[in-house]
Symmetry: C2
Subunit: 192 residues, 2 copies
DNA sequence: ACCTGAACACCGTTCAAGT
DNA sequence: ACCTGAACACCGTTCAAGT
């Protein structure tokens, strides 16, 4: 059952689905417009009537995935107050996304609104959690946590993790414990 | 004063220098073999008689830079025992490299020996420092520190740092303080 | 031996032509 | 309106020909 001629919504979906199926960790390089067109069952030029550039398609896929992450994590985000646990959950979900999209996440900066709004949503949620935990230096903490999560995802996605053979599970646990402990110690000094 | 015909060492150096001058944060994309050839004053094909691929040239540049980092830091590495201070120094140097080479550091995995030996040297030095500080879980600590350094470099090199407007200096300080504090707390619990 | 650049392969993007 | 693929631009890599 083919997508009908002129059904822009369904055809856009064909293209998005095709794109998603092609992303397998090699980042932008794995997303080739000829492949996308073939998989989606459309002409090469057609892809460009839905997405102005390859990066725009990539960004749409990424925004979709970030929103999915928030949806998946929503239950725990509202029920759990254990910061370590939240860090582990979040970092693990994020690693999966990172493994899918690869290291080209920087190009996303160039592409506007839906992406930024997804990122801001994630950021906002995290900020609330940190504030509720009573940790000061919210912005610095956010930057540190974000950097650590990205760094861990990058480490375990790259060949680097073959030089240091720890498993993902023990490493995130350790990272969560260490950073949260450091943040709380900071807190206690500040607090009194 | 041109490099003499047949002087392989000097010509290789011309090519390396040309490559270095072209790297400006965009990673592999900024390193275009036609540009390298032009800047080095050689034909395009000639570059390939010195480096089998573009990645090999990139790897040679990176290995050179890692060694430079170790040389620069050697004095402090042997004199300072303050872990926070070392973290800040190292992370800042590494950020500069990251800003130059961009996010394609993973391709380096494919390219062998000189690179790996540089990486291992950096890793070895760091391991010694951690052990001397009496911190347990050496391997996990190494992974966490490496990930954090990479993550911070990535954060401040990407557009992400525009969402969270902390300066580099305050953020590395904060990260160093937090992580080291967390590691030491861990230590004290383990120790008794 | 060492060097060279025309030629090939590949892939993002455009646009005149098709329905 | 919407769709298409031949054609263009760009860049890594090769190799037959030059010295």
């Amino acid at each position: 059952m083919r997508t009908k001629w002129g059904d822009r919504a369904a055809r856009r979906d064909d293209i998005v689905r095709a794109g998603r199926s092609l992303l397998r960790g090699d980042g932008l390089a794995a997303l080739q417009m000829r492949d996308v067109a073939r998989r989606a069952g459309v002409g090469l030029g057609t892809v460009y009537t839905y997405f102005p550039t390859k990066e725009a398609l990539y960004a749409a896929l990424y925004a979709e995935r970030l929103d999915e992450l928030l949806t998946d994590l929503a239950p725990q985000l509202s029920s759990t107050t254990d910061l370590e646990e939240l860090f582990v959950l979040f970092a693990t979900k994020y690693r999966d996304i990172y493994a899918e999209f690869g290291k080209d996440l920087d190009v996303l900066a160039a592409v506007g609104h839906q992406l930024t709004s997804s990122s801001l949503r994630v950021l906002g949620q995290t900020r609330t959690i940190i504030e509720n935990a009573g940790i000061p230096d919210t912005e610095l903490t956010l930057t540190l946590l974000w950097s650590t999560v990205t760094g861990l995802a990058d480490h375990f996605t790259s060949a680097r993790h073959q030089l240091l053979r720890n498993t993902w599970d023990e490493t995130v646990r350790f990272a969560a414990r260490t950073v949260v402990r450091g943040l709380v110690a900071e807190h206690q000094l500040h607090g009194g």
